[in-house]
């Protein structure tokens, strides 16, 4: 296995690991802000996976220049740009709603936000 292949797969594993850690956090953490952090973590992992999906080992950034002969795929990078901004937007809103919900219920514990059920 060449170093490039190693890098390629380790990128995938890292990204997947981030996603799984994030999901783990979302499912098991009680504090609403920790859940927000877990989501951010998972988002980062997903973004990495997106980048990875268009990544070719050994190629350069997709900016056309006389010196560049081979590039990686520009599309996933564009998608990631969008996805990052969306992640920021969602996180900003999530934190606001989370903090205010915590203020309302008197604690940041999601288990206490169970007024609506059944």
């Amino acid at each position: 296995m060449t170093a490039e292949t190693m890098f390629y797969w380790s990128l995938a594993v890292t990204a997947l690991g981030l996603v799984l850690i994030g999901i783990w956090g979302v499912l098991t953490k009680k504090n609403i802000l920790r859940i927000a952090l877990a989501f951010t973590l998972a988002d980062t992992g997903v973004n990495l996976i997106l980048v990875w999906s268009g990544f070719l080992p050994g190629r350069s950034a997709p900016i056309v220049d006389s010196s560049v002969t081979s590039m990686v795929d520009p599309l996933p990078q564009a998608l990631v740009l969008t996805s990052i901004v969306i992640g920021v937007a969602v996180a900003a809103l999530f934190v606001v709603v989370g903090v205010l919900a915590a203020r309302k219920s008197g604690s940041a514990d999601v288990r206490r936000m169970k007024e609506l059920r059944w």
């Binding site: 979302v26 997903v46 268009g54 709603v97 919900a101 609506l116």
Partner: protein
């Protein structure tokens, strides 16, 4: 250009509004309205261009291309004919609800317009990442609007929506990455080219996302909490724009997923429908009820995606989703009583139309789609068909409960909310439009009742019955408003009913008549509970009828299971064998002449249905005739006993009505000409005397305001004419010669003897004897005995009620002395039916001859009258002078009498009989039904226990669903 305007104008409005409301709220509203109207105009132009209003063909579409180049490089929006219809609905809903947002939170206008943009974008998106962007806009706005609304649980609702949207984001982007990594494309079509491991991965990820987003069971939890927690304005806008867009987007994506066999969708949907609707039975808050209804429609979408394809699929999905969304919108716009808003508007109608629409009652638009869809399921996927039907019935039950709980509040205020009014009008107009288009499915050319004689008898029966109820409709008490309108509609539908030439026509008229009557009953004072029961049993019989019709391919010609279902539908409608619960609850509370109509006229629709089943399925003899005859006999006896013990005038008549229909059933079960002659004779006779009795009761209630025996009595002096007509009717139904009732019984017993069904005969005769008990109590309790001081100033019933009674009484006399007038029509018509056995009664002049004996009504009548006259003369010359005493004129040996009610002579009138019968086990139908309700409630509680309210649980549901899908697909593929 038009297409770009239709899609992107709200976006410009949103941007402008980010800045305007701070400066001048009026200008910002004006800008919003102008842009929205322009966008709506563009959408309407597009819809005309695409011929979208022809719902039979929604395949046209036009491409709006964006960016540079063509897909897969750039992004296209595909504006489909179905989508543009949904877009028009969304525009309309946004325009209608904008003023309420502008009033409460003016700065939320950019979000409202943004939600419309996102919905339009998602509706037309053809690119998977583009869909993602719109999905995120929608989620963010939903969260934002919820968190900014003015209601207590907003933070919690918002945080749950945010949690779910976070998870959906992750799963969705994983799917996008997998798709792009495998195919190098991001168009939705690229989904179909996936193979191998990534196909499964993308399928389970996207299916989980879709099921979560459309809130189908089992991933419904967050949606329920969201609908319950957010304000009604936000929920209304959400359901009409965003929820609709997500549903239609899901409908677009589902067929493209490389799932192998799409029937999996149908199983998820069908199972989800039953379970979620069971849980829905237990929901109490209106937001939650709407949430469960949303879940039902999401499940229907899954079923449709799994079982139908092509144009049919598009048509069903568009009609179901668009109209159910508008219905939910208008319900939410009507306000939420639990949050101190008041339901308001034009009586209950404003509120009822969307409920009926959601329940799929004709002629509202959803009905047509549901009917076609269920017909398709019935012919190809029977198990799914039964599951869907069960789910839909459960949905109807809780929707009607919801309505009956709210309808009384509705009567109070009359200020209208324009948005809700507009939405309701929209639905009605659309209903008429679609009905007109689907009119081709209706058939009046050849009736399902092949015999013209019988058909004309039924036409006449329904028409005369309805007409006789009409004069008295304006003599009403208190808040009994305008029920006459619904009585008229119901009666008109019934009158046309015998002409129906195929199943759908029959069903349509049957349901219109039933639910118009339900609305009519709801206008009564204190009719809340009675209306609910009536609505539930009406939908039960409606769904049974529907199942029977669909299983026999839209006709009535198939014996076996379809015929059985149709028969049960008729029994429920007649209130036979334990299903009488609705009769005894609805009749006593129905307004004015409504009970006369229901009992006298509307119940005959069930007789018509039984006749139709007999004629078409077997050519004459009713299937399971002997069982039916037994059921009829037992019902006749049981209901008569209960009638004798009933404490209320109208309740007694309701029991009596059930009991009398039992005799009709006995006759029909005989399958001989004699039996059917008896059944038809008794049907007509029942119409006559029961209407006379109920009209009399209407007069009594109108004058005294009560129908409890304890408060009545002695009215013969105050209401002599009513008494006279009631007396004639009572003598007639007690089957004493010379009046009409005797003939029916005579023919029936002849038939039973001829067939050798002696045990049935004995039970039937015994029931007739019990009928004496209650007929006596009826006369005595209301008209004879002592006059209650409360009724000292009561007057005779008004003429509009008396005249129909007079006509009916004359009919009884005529029929009693000259039954051959009727038999001359009946017997030839029945003789022509090939399937009936036995010899027809022979009519010679006034003589009626059967194999058992002869009957000369004219002679018998004259003789009886002679005896009666002799007795009367004897009484008159004997000079007997009775002494009149007041109700409270009695000795109590120094004790205080307890109360006027308890010493009333008719209090607990038949106590000895009650005691004598007390050794019988008390198997009340009520208990059985309550037990069934309890079981359903327990099941519902079991299902909804999974919606714990913890946001993370909902995420776990989604992920577990994903794992199960993986296991299932890997096992199945």
């Amino acid at each position: 250009m038009v297409k770009a305007l239709a899609v992107f104008l709200p976006l410009l409005g949103a941007f402008i509004n980010a800045w305007l409301p701070g400066k001048s709220p009026k200008a910002s509203r004006a800008v919003s309205y102008i842009l929205l109207t322009a966008g709506l105009a563009a959408a309407v132009m597009l819809s005309i261009q695409l011929d979208a209003w022809n719902l039979n063909d929604l395949s046209n579409s036009v491409i709006l291309s964006t960016g540079v180049g063509t897909p897969p490089l750039s992004i296209n929006l595909e504006i489909t004919a179905g989508g543009i219809l949904a877009a028009i609905a969304m525009y309309a809903a946004t325009i209608f609800s904008l003023h309420r947002f502008a009033l409460t939170t003016p700065r939320s206008q950019p979000l409202v317009l943004g939600l419309l943009t996102a919905s339009l974008g998602l509706l037309f998106a053809t690119d998977i990442f583009n869909s993602f962007v719109f999905l995120e806009i929608g989620s963010i706005i939903t969260i934002g609007l919820t968190a900014a609304c003015k209601c207590g649980s907003r933070w919690e609702a918002a945080i749950k929506a945010a949690l779910v949207s976070g998870l959906v984001t992750i799963l969705y982007l994983l799917a996008v990455a997998a798709l792009y990594r495998s195919t190098g494309m991001l168009t939705l079509e690229a989904l179909g080219t996936l193979t191998g491991g990534s196909a499964i991965l993308v399928t389970i990820l996207l299916l989980t996302v879709i099921v979560t987003e459309i809130k189908a069971f089992p991933l419904t939890g967050w949606g329920l909490d969201f609908y319950q927690g957010t304000s009604s304005i936000v929920a209304g806008l959400y359901s009409a724009t965003w929820s609709l867009a997500v549903l239609l987007w899901a409908a677009k994506v589902l067929p493209l997923l490389p799932i192998g066999n799409p029937i999996i969708y149908a199983w998820i949907g069908a199972a989800g429908l039953v379970f979620s609707q069971l849980a829905g039975l237990r929901a109490s808050s209106s937001g939650r009820i709407m949430g469960y209804s949303t879940s039902a429609y999401a499940s229907l979408l899954l079923v449709a995606a799994g079982t139908t394809t092509g144009a049919f699929y598009t048509q069903i999905v568009v009609v179901l989703m668009v109209f159910s969304s508008i219905a939910k919108f208008s319900l939410f716009m009507l306000g939420n009583p639990e949050r101190k808003d008041k339901w308001s508007g034009f009586g209950t109608i404003l509120f009822l139309v969307p409920i009926l629409l959601l329940a799929g009652i004709p002629p509202l638009p959803v009905f047509w789609a549901k009917f076609d869809f269920l017909a398709h399921l019935a012919s190809s996927f029977p198990v799914i068909f039964y599951a869907v039907l069960t789910g839909l019935f459960l949905e109807a039950v809780y929707l009607f409960r919801f309505w009956s709980e709210r309808s009384e509040k509705t009567n109070e205020k009359s200020s209208s909310k324009p948005s809700a009014v507009a939405a309701v009008l929209l639905m009605l107009v659309a209903g008429i439009w679609i009905t007109r288009m689907s009119w081709g499915a209706l058939d009046f050319s050849g009736s399902i009742i092949a015999s013209p004689g019988l058909r004309n008898i039924f036409h006449g029966l329904f028409a005369i019955g309805t007409l006789l109820c009409l004069p008295g409709v304006f003599n009403r008490i208190g808040r009994e408003k305008n029920y006459w309108f619904w009585l008229l509609i119901s009666g008109a539908a019934l009158t046309i009913l015998p002409a129906a030439g195929n199943g759908i026509t029959f069903f349509l008229l049957w349901e219109i008549s039933a639910f118009a009557a339900v609305i009519g009953v709801s206008k009564g004072v204190g009719a809340k509970k009675g209306t609910f029961w009536y609505a539930v049993f009406a939908s039960l019989s409606g769904y049974l009828l529907l199942a029977g019709i669909l299983l026999s391919k839209g006709s009535f010609v198939i014996a076996g299971l379809p015929a059985l279902l149709l028969t049960i539908a008729a029994l429920v409608k007649m209130g036979q064998f334990g299903t009488h619960l609705w009769n005894i609850r609805a009749y006593p509370v129905a307004p004015g002449t409504m009970p006369a109509f229901l009992s006298g006229t509307a119940s005959k629709a069930a007789v018509l249905l039984l006749v139709a089943v007999a004629l078409n399925a077997t050519g004459g003899a009713l299937p399971w005739g002997r069982v039916l005859a037994w059921m009829g006999a037992l019902t006749a006896l049981g209901a008569a006993t209960l009638a004798a013990l009933a404490p209320d005038y109208r309740k007694m008549l309701a029991y009596a009505s059930v009991s009398q229909l039992g005799f009709v059933l006995m006759g029909l079960g005989l399958a001989s000409i004699l039996g059917w002659t008896a059944a038809f004779y008794h049907t007509i006779h029942h119409l006559i005397f029961k209407m006379a009795l109920f009209l009399g009761a209407a007069g009594v209630v109108y004058r005294t305001g009560t129908s409890e025996f304890n408060n009545l009595g002695g009215l013969v002096k105050k209401m002599p004419w009513t008494f006279a007509f009631t007396l004639i009717a009572v003598i007639s139904f007690a089957s004493v010669p010379p009046l009409a009732g005797f003939g029916g019984k005579w023919l029936l017993y002849n038939g039973l003897v001829e067939a050798g069904w002696l045990p049935v005969l004995i039970v039937g005769m015994f029931a007739s004897v019990v009928a004496f008990l209650y007929s006596f109590r009826l006369l005595h309790g209301v008209f004879l005995g002592q006059l209650s001081p409360k009724n000292a100033h009561t007057k005779e019933a008004p003429l509009p009620l008396l005249i129909p009674q007079a006509i009916l009484a004359m009919a009884i006399m005529a029929l009693g002395f000259k039954p051959t007038l009727l038999l001359n029509i009946l017997v030839p018509a029945l003789e022509a039916i090939p399937g009936l056995s036995g010899l027809a009664p022979v009519i010679q002049g006034d003589m009626v001859l059967t194999t058992m004996g002869t009957w000369n009504a004219w002679m018998v009548g004259l003789m009886v009258m002679g005896f009666f006259g002799f007795a009367f003369v004897f009484y008159w010359i004997s000079g007997h002078k009775p002494k009149y005493v007041g109700q409270l004129d009695m000795g109590f040996a120094g004790e205080m009498p307890p109360s006027a009610d308890e010493v009333h002579y008719s209090n607990n009138f038949f106590r000895p009989y009650r005691r004598a019968l007390s050794f019988l086990p008390k198997i009340h139908a009520e208990k059985i039904f309550n037990g069934a309700a309890k079981t359903f409630n327990m099941l519902g509680d079991g299902v909804r226990a999974m919606f714990t309210g913890d946001g993370r649980t909902y995420l776990a549901h989604s992920l577990l669903f994903l794992l199960l899908l993986f296991v299932f697909l890997n096992g199945g593929m």
